[in-house]
């Protein structure tokens, strides 16, 4: 059981961004992807979620054996158990967080079954409290006028409510101060379980002190070029990416 990405290639327009990417996150583990700006990390997240701007030109992604690309629509993939916390979450004017998450949960129920409103709010408030999100936010429009950190917390709130099988977190640490980072990390750690896998994309090693990964992957120019344990993240932090690129050239 795993989230398995095989030989994945994807374009935006006629520009290739992902160039045969391989990665497997066994269920129950947390993997991290680190890489320089522009290496294609967000592209990977959005391609998995089914963003219409990207064209998959080769390879596959499977969730516990289920072929993601056989599901055309992003909502099908989400209901199949994939969650992507976006680097730049969208603002949705006039749609409250409460109604948004409610619609997302309702969409997971069988036809004709109604979400219990009282239970829903109890559950929502509990998760908000643990992420230290003011309960007043339930009636705020999704991400509208939120600070960077509030947006990221709202992504984690959605993840906590939707209970995915595999979660991809794209730079969920950016824009967070140290307290918020701890709160968000606690939220993620509380969800770590043998029944769930995480792929944590980050720019900084800092996050990985809080969410300690089982495996760290390095992404360069649309490929995973190196994998290791959490010490790899420390080495990248201390020495930058140049040595990685040299090593690849040497072995190429």
């Amino acid at each position: 059981m795993s989230l398995k990405i095989e030989n994945l290639s994807a374009n935006i327009g006629d520009r290739q961004i992902l160039k045969g990417l391989n990665l497997e996150v066994p269920k129950g583990q947390v993997h991290a992807i680190m890489g320089k700006n522009g290496s294609g990390k967000s592209t990977l997240a959005k391609v998995m979620a089914g963003h219409p701007d990207y064209e998959v030109t080769g390879g596959s992604v499977t969730l516990d054996g289920l072929n993601l690309f056989e599901m055309q629509e992003p909502d099908q993939r989400a209901r199949a158990g994939l969650f992507v916390a976006f680097q730049y979450p969208m603002e949705i004017p006039g749609v409250t967080i409460a109604n948004f998450i409610r619609a997302a949960l309702q969409a997971r129920l069988p036809e004709g079954e109604e979400l219990d409103a009282v239970e829903y709010y109890e559950h929502l408030y509990k998760k908000m409290d643990s992420l230290k999100i003011d309960r007043k936010f339930t009636s705020r429009a999704v991400n509208e006028g939120f600070s960077g950190g509030e947006k990221k917390r709202c992504e984690v709130l959605q993840m906590a409510m939707l209970n995915p099988v595999y979660a991809v977190l794209d730079e969920t640490d950016s824009g967070l101060d140290i307290d918020a980072l701890r709160i968000v990390s606690d939220g993620v750690n509380a969800m770590r379980s043998p029944e769930r896998g995480f792929l944590v994309i980050t720019h900084y090693q800092r996050l990985l002190d809080y969410i300690v990964p089982d495996v760290v992957h390095v992404m360069v120019d649309g490929r995973i070029v190196m994998s290791g344990d959490k010490n790899l993240a420390h080495k990248l932090e201390a020495q930058g990416y140049d040595w990685v690129e040299k090593e690849i050239l040497a072995t190429a």
């Binding site: 992003p74 992507v84 969208m90 006039g94 619609a103 997302a104």
Partner: protein, 424 residues
């Protein structure tokens, strides 16, 4: 059956004789005034076919009075309720009105409060194109709603008015006249409803008068059948430091012509003009507005939101007019069209006429589809595209409802909107 032009012989008028004489004159004026043509400035882009009223007949007294009264439900708590159907009073509840507040039919106001009636009834000239239809309205108006709130009186809970039409091709002439005394406060929700999904004709007038320091929130929930032709001619007169908030929600109708004039006659007055218009099928909403700044340091804020699906049409023509004496004016006018279909036809004509330079004015119109990124974001949470689109449209309108300060009222309107857009 009698046509619109003839007075039904059987129904004796409840109006005083002097008003009946005015009605005869109004009928003559209606007949004399020409039917508008496209080259009339205020009928540009208009669908003139809708002006053929020959199919419509005089309304009979309502047959299903009990059903309509039972269906006249809105807010949980109200101060008073007036229910009218086919140009007659069906029901009145006024238990929680403070002393001195008058809520009754216009007919009885004409008899019992003649001075007030004469001072305020259709006191404003009709400037936005429908003089002919205002004359028809005056000639045929019956019953109607009259609300007077005396000075320094606050009506805490909202007042609800229900104006029904029943029967095929029936014609109704709803009228709401609200007079707010100095420093008074009141909220009114005015529902326009059809007893059945049949063609009908409504020709309504509503006039809001705010004396110094008054605060009025007026909500029109227009929910006529999808086969109704309707005119709604509105005027709002705002005196010193008074604030009028008027929201017009057009949920129904096949063809709606709305004319809304706000005249800021007192220094420091404020008029908020909002409208939400979900349109689909071949429905049309034609709205003409005027923000007339007469007094200095007044504010007017107009925001009209249209969401157009299928082959629907909207027309918005608005004018901000700043009179020479109106220095320090703040005037805003914005129409936003959310385009849901390639066949939809939005027409926007915002306009300014500024005769004083010490002003802040802005006006504009935008057209745009649902954002693909917003849609993707919602789908990425598992919400199917169709539901996501409806939520986004709902959100588009909801962001306007945040201007309504009264929480139970706003929640109620959010509920009506969600029901209208079939958000489960």
């Amino acid at each position: 059956m009698t046509t619109l032009m003839e007075k039904p012989a059987a129904a004796p008028s409840a109006w005083p004789a002097w008003f009946q004489a005015e009605q005869s004159a109004a009928l003559a004026e209606y007949e004399k005034l020409p039917v508008p043509v496209r080259k009339d400035e205020s009928w540009r882009f208009a669908n003139l076919k809708a002006l053929d009223l020959s199919a419509f007949v005089d309304a009979n007294p309502v047959a299903s009075e009990g059903r309509l009264i039972n269906a006249s439900t809105g807010l949980k708590e109200t101060a008073a309720k007036l229910i009218l159907g086919n140009n007659a009073l069906l029901h009145r509840e006024a238990g929680l009105l403070p002393k001195g507040v008058i809520l009754e039919t216009l007919e009885s106001a004409a008899a019992n409060h003649t001075e007030l009636f004469k001072k305020y009834f259709m006191a404003q000239p009709v400037e936005l194109g429908s003089r002919k239809y205002a004359a028809l309205h005056k000639a045929r108006v019956a019953a109607g709603a009259f609300l007077y709130v005396p000075a320094n009186t606050s009506v805490e809970l909202p007042i609800e008015l229900f104006q029904w039409v029943e029967g095929a091709n029936a014609s109704v002439f709803p009228h709401t006249l609200i007079v707010c005394g100095e420093n008074s406060r009141v909220t009114v929700v005015d529902y326009f409803k059809s007893a059945d999904q049949l063609p009908a004709f409504a020709c309504g007038v509503n006039d809001l008068h705010l004396a110094r320091g008054a605060k009025l929130t007026y909500i029109s929930v227009q929910d006529w059948s999808r086969e109704t032709t309707a005119f709604h001619l509105n005027s709002t007169i705002v005196d010193r430091e008074a604030t009028a908030t008027a929201l017009i929600a057009n949920f129904g109708g096949a063809f709606i012509r709305g004319e809304s004039l706000s005249r800021l006659v007192g220094e420091g007055s404020r008029s908020e003009m909002y409208s939400i218009n979900p349109v689909e099928g071949t429905r049309e909403i034609d709205q003409r507005t005027l923000q007339d700044h007469v007094a200095p340091n007044a504010t007017s804020d107009l925001l009209y939101l249209n969401a157009l699906d299928d082959k629907s049409r909207t027309i918005f023509a608005g004018l901000i007019k700043v009179q020479p004496g109106a220095k320090g004016t703040d005037a805003y006018q914005k129409v936003k069209n959310l385009i849901l279909s390639d066949d939809a036809d939005p027409n926007s004509m915002p306009g300014l006429e500024i005769l004083n330079d010490e002003v802040r004015c802005s006006h504009g119109a935008t057209n745009g589809p649902i954002s693909a990124d917003e849609l993707f974001y919602m789908e990425a949470r598992g919400i199917p595209a169709d539901k996501a689109r409806r939520l986004i449209v709902n959100g588009f309108f909801n962001s306007l409802l945040t201007h309504i300060e009264n929480d139970p009222l706003r929640l109620h309107l959010e509920g009506l909107l969600a029901a209208r857009l079939a958000i489960g």
